[in-house]
Symmetry: C2
Subunit: 156 residues, 2 copies
DNA sequence: CTTGACCTTACCATCATGGGAAGGACTATG
DNA sequence: CATAGTCCTTCCCATGATGGTAAGGTCAAG
Protein backbone atom coordinates (compact mmCIF):
# COMPACT_ATOMS: atom_id res chain seq x y z
CA UNK A 1 0.00 0.00 0.00
CA UNK A 2 1.42 3.39 -0.90
CA UNK A 3 0.64 6.57 0.94
CA UNK A 4 -2.39 7.46 -1.15
CA UNK A 5 -4.02 4.12 -0.56
CA UNK A 6 -3.20 4.24 3.13
CA UNK A 7 -4.74 7.70 3.24
CA UNK A 8 -7.95 6.49 1.68
CA UNK A 9 -8.07 3.43 3.89
CA UNK A 10 -7.43 5.35 7.10
CA UNK A 11 -9.13 8.66 6.48
CA UNK A 12 -5.90 10.50 7.21
CA UNK A 13 -4.62 12.66 4.36
CA UNK A 14 -1.28 11.80 2.80
CA UNK A 15 -0.09 15.19 3.92
CA UNK A 16 -0.89 14.45 7.51
CA UNK A 17 0.60 10.96 7.37
CA UNK A 18 3.91 12.50 6.37
CA UNK A 19 3.50 15.12 9.06
CA UNK A 20 2.84 12.51 11.74
CA UNK A 21 5.92 10.65 10.61
CA UNK A 22 8.07 13.78 10.58
CA UNK A 23 6.98 14.76 14.08
CA UNK A 24 7.49 11.29 15.48
CA UNK A 25 3.86 10.42 16.20
CA UNK A 26 4.25 7.34 14.03
CA UNK A 27 7.43 5.48 13.16
CA UNK A 28 8.98 6.03 9.76
CA UNK A 29 7.25 3.95 7.14
CA UNK A 30 9.11 1.46 5.02
CA UNK A 31 10.19 2.55 1.56
CA UNK A 32 10.31 0.95 -1.86
CA UNK A 33 13.56 1.01 -3.78
CA UNK A 34 12.43 4.21 -5.45
CA UNK A 35 11.60 5.95 -2.19
CA UNK A 36 7.84 5.50 -2.01
CA UNK A 37 6.50 4.93 1.47
CA UNK A 38 4.80 1.57 1.95
CA UNK A 39 2.15 0.72 4.52
CA UNK A 40 0.76 -2.54 5.79
CA UNK A 41 -2.56 -3.10 7.54
CA UNK A 42 -0.94 -2.57 10.91
CA UNK A 43 0.10 0.93 9.98
CA UNK A 44 -3.29 1.72 8.54
CA UNK A 45 -4.89 0.52 11.73
CA UNK A 46 -2.66 2.88 13.69
CA UNK A 47 -3.60 5.72 11.36
CA UNK A 48 -7.26 4.99 11.89
CA UNK A 49 -6.65 5.08 15.62
CA UNK A 50 -5.07 8.49 15.22
CA UNK A 51 -7.85 9.72 13.00
CA UNK A 52 -10.49 8.64 15.44
CA UNK A 53 -8.62 10.19 18.33
CA UNK A 54 -8.39 13.47 16.44
CA UNK A 55 -12.11 13.28 15.76
CA UNK A 56 -12.62 13.13 19.50
CA UNK A 57 -10.55 16.26 19.85
CA UNK A 58 -7.38 14.79 21.31
CA UNK A 59 -4.32 16.87 20.51
CA UNK A 60 -1.49 15.03 18.85
CA UNK A 61 0.59 15.09 22.02
CA UNK A 62 -2.14 13.22 23.87
CA UNK A 63 -2.53 10.79 21.00
CA UNK A 64 1.12 9.98 21.45
CA UNK A 65 0.29 8.81 24.96
CA UNK A 66 -2.81 6.99 23.81
CA UNK A 67 -0.81 5.14 21.18
CA UNK A 68 1.77 4.15 23.75
CA UNK A 69 -0.97 2.70 25.92
CA UNK A 70 -2.56 1.04 22.93
CA UNK A 71 0.68 -0.75 22.18
CA UNK A 72 1.32 -1.62 25.80
CA UNK A 73 -0.30 -4.95 26.52
CA UNK A 74 0.40 -4.42 30.23
CA UNK A 75 -1.26 -1.01 30.41
CA UNK A 76 -3.62 -0.08 33.17
CA UNK A 77 -7.03 0.91 31.87
CA UNK A 78 -7.01 3.56 34.59
CA UNK A 79 -4.34 5.42 32.65
CA UNK A 80 -6.46 5.42 29.53
CA UNK A 81 -9.51 6.49 31.44
CA UNK A 82 -7.52 9.29 33.00
CA UNK A 83 -6.52 10.63 29.59
CA UNK A 84 -10.11 10.39 28.45
CA UNK A 85 -11.32 12.23 31.53
CA UNK A 86 -8.79 15.00 30.98
CA UNK A 87 -10.06 15.35 27.46
CA UNK A 88 -13.66 15.39 28.66
CA UNK A 89 -12.81 18.07 31.19
CA UNK A 90 -11.01 20.14 28.57
CA UNK A 91 -13.96 19.86 26.23
CA UNK A 92 -16.38 20.79 28.98
CA UNK A 93 -14.35 23.86 29.79
CA UNK A 94 -14.30 25.01 26.19
CA UNK A 95 -17.97 24.23 25.77
CA UNK A 96 -18.84 26.28 28.83
CA UNK A 97 -16.77 29.20 27.61
CA UNK A 98 -18.41 29.13 24.21
CA UNK A 99 -21.82 28.66 25.73
CA UNK A 100 -21.27 31.77 27.82
CA UNK A 101 -20.21 33.71 24.76
CA UNK A 102 -23.22 32.47 22.88
CA UNK A 103 -25.63 33.39 25.62
CA UNK A 104 -24.20 36.86 26.00
CA UNK A 105 -24.46 37.38 22.27
CA UNK A 106 -27.95 35.98 22.20
CA UNK A 107 -29.10 38.40 24.88
CA UNK A 108 -27.58 41.28 23.00
CA UNK A 109 -29.01 40.17 19.68
CA UNK A 110 -32.44 39.73 21.24
CA UNK A 111 -32.28 43.31 22.46
CA UNK A 112 -31.36 44.63 19.01
CA UNK A 113 -34.31 45.47 16.80
CA UNK A 114 -32.33 44.70 13.70
CA UNK A 115 -33.85 47.31 11.47
CA UNK A 116 -32.50 50.25 9.53
CA UNK A 117 -31.98 52.44 12.57
CA UNK A 118 -28.50 52.87 14.01
CA UNK A 119 -29.36 52.27 17.68
CA UNK A 120 -27.84 48.99 18.64
CA UNK A 121 -27.37 47.47 22.10
CA UNK A 122 -24.79 45.08 20.68
CA UNK A 123 -22.44 47.88 19.71
CA UNK A 124 -23.32 49.74 22.88
CA UNK A 125 -22.22 46.76 24.93
CA UNK A 126 -19.06 46.18 22.98
CA UNK A 127 -18.19 49.81 23.44
CA UNK A 128 -19.03 49.96 27.12
CA UNK A 129 -17.33 46.82 28.23
CA UNK A 130 -18.85 43.84 30.01
CA UNK A 131 -21.77 43.85 32.37
CA UNK A 132 -24.20 46.23 30.73
CA UNK A 133 -26.89 43.83 29.64
CA UNK A 134 -29.52 45.53 31.78
CA UNK A 135 -28.84 49.01 30.57
CA UNK A 136 -30.36 48.79 27.14
CA UNK A 137 -32.08 52.14 27.67
CA UNK A 138 -28.57 53.47 27.46
CA UNK A 139 -28.52 52.50 23.82
CA UNK A 140 -28.08 55.64 21.83
CA UNK A 141 -25.75 57.38 24.18
CA UNK A 142 -22.80 55.11 24.66
CA UNK A 143 -22.40 53.86 21.11
CA UNK A 144 -19.74 54.97 18.76
CA UNK A 145 -16.41 56.53 19.34
CA UNK A 146 -18.08 59.93 19.59
CA UNK A 147 -15.54 61.35 17.20
CA UNK A 148 -13.28 60.18 14.45
CA UNK A 149 -10.56 60.24 17.06
CA UNK A 150 -8.66 63.25 15.79
CA UNK A 151 -5.29 61.73 16.26
CA UNK A 152 -3.85 64.46 18.51
CA UNK A 153 -0.39 63.18 19.07
CA UNK A 154 0.99 64.69 22.24
CA UNK A 155 4.47 64.68 20.76
CA UNK A 156 6.94 64.37 23.55
CA UNK B 1 -0.57 57.36 27.32
CA UNK B 2 2.12 55.07 26.00
CA UNK B 3 1.50 51.55 24.78
CA UNK B 4 2.00 49.93 28.16
CA UNK B 5 -0.54 52.17 29.83
CA UNK B 6 -2.98 51.71 26.97
CA UNK B 7 -2.52 47.97 27.31
CA UNK B 8 -3.34 48.05 30.99
CA UNK B 9 -6.30 50.35 30.44
CA UNK B 10 -7.77 48.29 27.62
CA UNK B 11 -6.87 44.77 28.55
CA UNK B 12 -5.13 44.26 25.22
CA UNK B 13 -1.45 43.36 25.45
CA UNK B 14 1.10 45.76 23.99
CA UNK B 15 2.11 42.99 21.65
CA UNK B 16 -1.39 42.68 20.31
CA UNK B 17 -1.87 46.42 20.01
CA UNK B 18 1.14 46.55 17.70
CA UNK B 19 -0.18 43.54 15.84
CA UNK B 20 -3.60 45.12 15.33
CA UNK B 21 -1.92 48.22 14.06
CA UNK B 22 0.35 46.30 11.69
CA UNK B 23 -2.54 44.32 10.25
CA UNK B 24 -4.73 47.37 9.78
CA UNK B 25 -7.39 46.57 12.35
CA UNK B 26 -6.69 49.88 14.04
CA UNK B 27 -5.15 53.01 12.53
CA UNK B 28 -1.51 53.76 13.22
CA UNK B 29 -1.09 55.42 16.60
CA UNK B 30 0.53 58.79 16.97
CA UNK B 31 4.18 58.90 17.93
CA UNK B 32 6.30 60.98 20.23
CA UNK B 33 9.41 62.62 18.85
CA UNK B 34 11.38 59.61 19.99
CA UNK B 35 9.12 57.10 18.33
CA UNK B 36 6.94 55.96 21.22
CA UNK B 37 3.33 55.28 20.33
CA UNK B 38 0.83 57.52 22.11
CA UNK B 39 -2.80 56.74 22.83
CA UNK B 40 -5.73 58.88 23.87
CA UNK B 41 -8.95 57.72 25.50
CA UNK B 42 -10.58 57.28 22.12
CA UNK B 43 -8.00 54.74 21.08
CA UNK B 44 -8.25 52.93 24.37
CA UNK B 45 -11.99 52.78 23.96
CA UNK B 46 -11.52 51.19 20.54
CA UNK B 47 -9.08 48.70 22.03
CA UNK B 48 -11.59 47.79 24.69
CA UNK B 49 -14.16 47.28 21.97
CA UNK B 50 -11.77 44.91 20.25
CA UNK B 51 -10.96 43.12 23.45
CA UNK B 52 -14.58 42.61 24.28
CA UNK B 53 -15.32 41.39 20.76
CA UNK B 54 -12.48 38.89 21.01
CA UNK B 55 -13.86 37.74 24.32
CA UNK B 56 -17.10 36.98 22.54
CA UNK B 57 -15.18 34.89 20.05
CA UNK B 58 -15.29 37.18 17.04
CA UNK B 59 -12.35 36.66 14.72
CA UNK B 60 -10.34 39.75 13.90
CA UNK B 61 -11.78 39.93 10.39
CA UNK B 62 -15.28 40.18 11.81
CA UNK B 63 -14.15 42.74 14.33
CA UNK B 64 -13.02 44.83 11.42
CA UNK B 65 -16.61 44.89 10.22
CA UNK B 66 -17.95 45.53 13.70
CA UNK B 67 -15.60 48.47 14.11
CA UNK B 68 -16.71 49.91 10.80
CA UNK B 69 -20.32 49.73 11.93
CA UNK B 70 -19.42 51.15 15.31
CA UNK B 71 -17.89 54.17 13.62
CA UNK B 72 -20.73 54.53 11.14
CA UNK B 73 -23.36 56.74 12.67
CA UNK B 74 -25.71 55.85 9.81
CA UNK B 75 -25.38 52.09 10.26
CA UNK B 76 -28.35 49.79 10.23
CA UNK B 77 -28.65 47.82 13.42
CA UNK B 78 -29.75 44.92 11.23
CA UNK B 79 -26.19 44.65 9.92
CA UNK B 80 -24.82 44.42 13.43
CA UNK B 81 -27.43 41.87 14.42
CA UNK B 82 -26.57 39.83 11.36
CA UNK B 83 -22.92 39.68 12.33
CA UNK B 84 -23.90 38.69 15.84
CA UNK B 85 -26.20 35.98 14.56
CA UNK B 86 -23.46 34.57 12.36
CA UNK B 87 -21.22 34.44 15.37
CA UNK B 88 -23.93 32.77 17.43
CA UNK B 89 -24.43 30.19 14.71
CA UNK B 90 -20.74 29.51 14.46
CA UNK B 91 -20.48 29.08 18.21
CA UNK B 92 -23.46 26.78 18.26
CA UNK B 93 -21.91 24.63 15.58
CA UNK B 94 -18.66 24.32 17.46
CA UNK B 95 -20.45 23.68 20.72
CA UNK B 96 -22.49 20.89 19.17
CA UNK B 97 -19.39 19.28 17.71
CA UNK B 98 -17.58 19.40 21.02
CA UNK B 99 -20.64 18.22 22.88
CA UNK B 100 -20.80 15.19 20.59
CA UNK B 101 -17.13 14.46 21.22
CA UNK B 102 -17.65 14.81 24.92
CA UNK B 103 -20.63 12.49 25.00
CA UNK B 104 -18.86 9.83 22.99
CA UNK B 105 -15.89 10.05 25.30
CA UNK B 106 -18.12 9.98 28.34
CA UNK B 107 -19.83 6.80 27.17
CA UNK B 108 -16.47 5.18 26.56
CA UNK B 109 -15.04 6.32 29.87
CA UNK B 110 -18.14 5.09 31.70
CA UNK B 111 -17.60 1.68 30.17
CA UNK B 112 -13.96 1.57 31.24
CA UNK B 113 -13.38 0.14 34.68
CA UNK B 114 -10.29 2.26 35.15
CA UNK B 115 -8.30 -0.21 37.19
CA UNK B 116 -4.97 -1.94 36.73
CA UNK B 117 -6.20 -4.35 34.09
CA UNK B 118 -5.42 -3.72 30.44
CA UNK B 119 -8.92 -4.29 29.04
CA UNK B 120 -10.21 -0.95 27.89
CA UNK B 121 -13.24 -0.14 25.76
CA UNK B 122 -11.80 3.29 25.05
CA UNK B 123 -8.79 1.89 23.27
CA UNK B 124 -10.94 -0.77 21.71
CA UNK B 125 -13.16 1.89 20.20
CA UNK B 126 -10.29 4.03 19.01
CA UNK B 127 -8.80 0.97 17.36
CA UNK B 128 -11.99 -0.23 15.79
CA UNK B 129 -13.28 2.99 14.39
CA UNK B 130 -16.56 4.73 15.08
CA UNK B 131 -19.84 3.15 15.95
CA UNK B 132 -18.79 0.41 18.33
CA UNK B 133 -20.21 1.73 21.55
CA UNK B 134 -22.42 -1.32 22.01
CA UNK B 135 -19.70 -3.86 21.49
CA UNK B 136 -17.90 -3.49 24.76
CA UNK B 137 -17.81 -7.28 25.11
CA UNK B 138 -15.37 -7.03 22.26
CA UNK B 139 -12.93 -5.42 24.62
CA UNK B 140 -9.95 -7.65 24.84
CA UNK B 141 -9.95 -8.80 21.26
CA UNK B 142 -9.70 -5.74 19.13
CA UNK B 143 -7.32 -3.72 21.23
CA UNK B 144 -3.75 -3.18 20.42
CA UNK B 145 -1.87 -3.48 17.22
CA UNK B 146 -1.44 -7.18 17.89
CA UNK B 147 2.27 -6.87 17.41
CA UNK B 148 4.93 -4.25 17.58
CA UNK B 149 4.38 -4.06 13.87
CA UNK B 150 7.78 -5.40 12.87
CA UNK B 151 9.01 -2.13 11.62
CA UNK B 152 10.75 -3.37 8.48
CA UNK B 153 12.10 -0.14 7.23
CA UNK B 154 13.51 -1.01 3.83
CA UNK B 155 16.63 1.05 4.30
CA UNK B 156 15.55 4.52 3.26
C1' DC C 1 7.96 7.26 -25.63
C1' DT C 2 4.30 9.99 -23.98
C1' DT C 3 0.66 11.06 -20.87
C1' DG C 4 -1.36 11.31 -16.57
C1' DA C 5 -1.71 10.08 -11.96
C1' DC C 6 0.91 9.51 -8.22
C1' DC C 7 4.96 10.03 -5.26
C1' DT C 8 9.02 12.81 -3.11
C1' DT C 9 10.84 17.02 -0.58
C1' DA C 10 10.58 21.81 0.66
C1' DC C 11 8.55 26.02 1.52
C1' DC C 12 4.58 29.14 2.61
C1' DA C 13 0.02 30.31 4.80
C1' DT C 14 -3.28 30.04 8.24
C1' DC C 15 -4.95 32.61 13.27
C1' DA C 16 -3.98 35.05 17.36
C1' DT C 17 -0.72 35.06 20.59
C1' DG C 18 3.62 34.95 23.17
C1' DG C 19 8.80 34.89 23.59
C1' DG C 20 13.09 36.78 22.93
C1' DA C 21 17.04 39.54 21.13
C1' DA C 22 19.27 43.89 20.08
C1' DG C 23 19.18 48.48 20.72
C1' DG C 24 17.16 53.10 22.03
C1' DA C 25 14.52 56.08 25.59
C1' DC C 26 13.09 57.50 29.94
C1' DT C 27 13.28 57.76 35.15
C1' DA C 28 15.21 57.65 39.56
C1' DT C 29 19.13 57.51 42.35
C1' DG C 30 23.94 58.07 43.35
C1' DC D 1 27.05 63.19 34.87
C1' DA D 2 26.84 58.06 35.46
C1' DT D 3 24.37 54.14 36.19
C1' DA D 4 20.67 50.97 36.84
C1' DG D 5 16.25 49.54 35.77
C1' DT D 6 12.14 49.73 33.27
C1' DC D 7 9.98 50.74 29.32
C1' DC D 8 9.80 51.32 24.32
C1' DT D 9 11.16 50.09 19.30
C1' DT D 10 11.69 46.58 15.42
C1' DC D 11 12.57 41.97 13.80
C1' DC D 12 12.43 37.08 13.94
C1' DC D 13 10.65 32.65 15.64
C1' DA D 14 7.17 29.33 17.61
C1' DT D 15 2.78 27.57 18.36
C1' DG D 16 -1.09 23.31 16.16
C1' DA D 17 -2.95 20.94 12.63
C1' DT D 18 -3.88 21.47 8.20
C1' DG D 19 -3.85 22.80 3.29
C1' DG D 20 -1.56 24.65 -0.89
C1' DT D 21 1.89 24.79 -4.28
C1' DA D 22 6.11 24.05 -6.84
C1' DA D 23 9.83 21.30 -8.80
C1' DG D 24 11.12 17.00 -9.87
C1' DG D 25 11.06 11.66 -9.80
C1' DT D 26 8.17 7.20 -10.65
C1' DC D 27 4.89 4.12 -12.30
C1' DA D 28 1.18 2.18 -15.25
C1' DA D 29 -1.35 2.35 -19.42
C1' DG D 30 -1.52 3.38 -24.12
Amino acid sequence: MNIGEAAKASGVSAKMIRYYEATGLIPAAGRTASGYRVYADTEVQMLRFIRRSRDLGFPVEKIKELLALWRDRARHSADVKHLAQEQIDGLEKKISAMQAMKETLQHLADACCGDNRPECPILADLGNGPGHLHRQDDAGSGQGPLAQSGRRRAAG
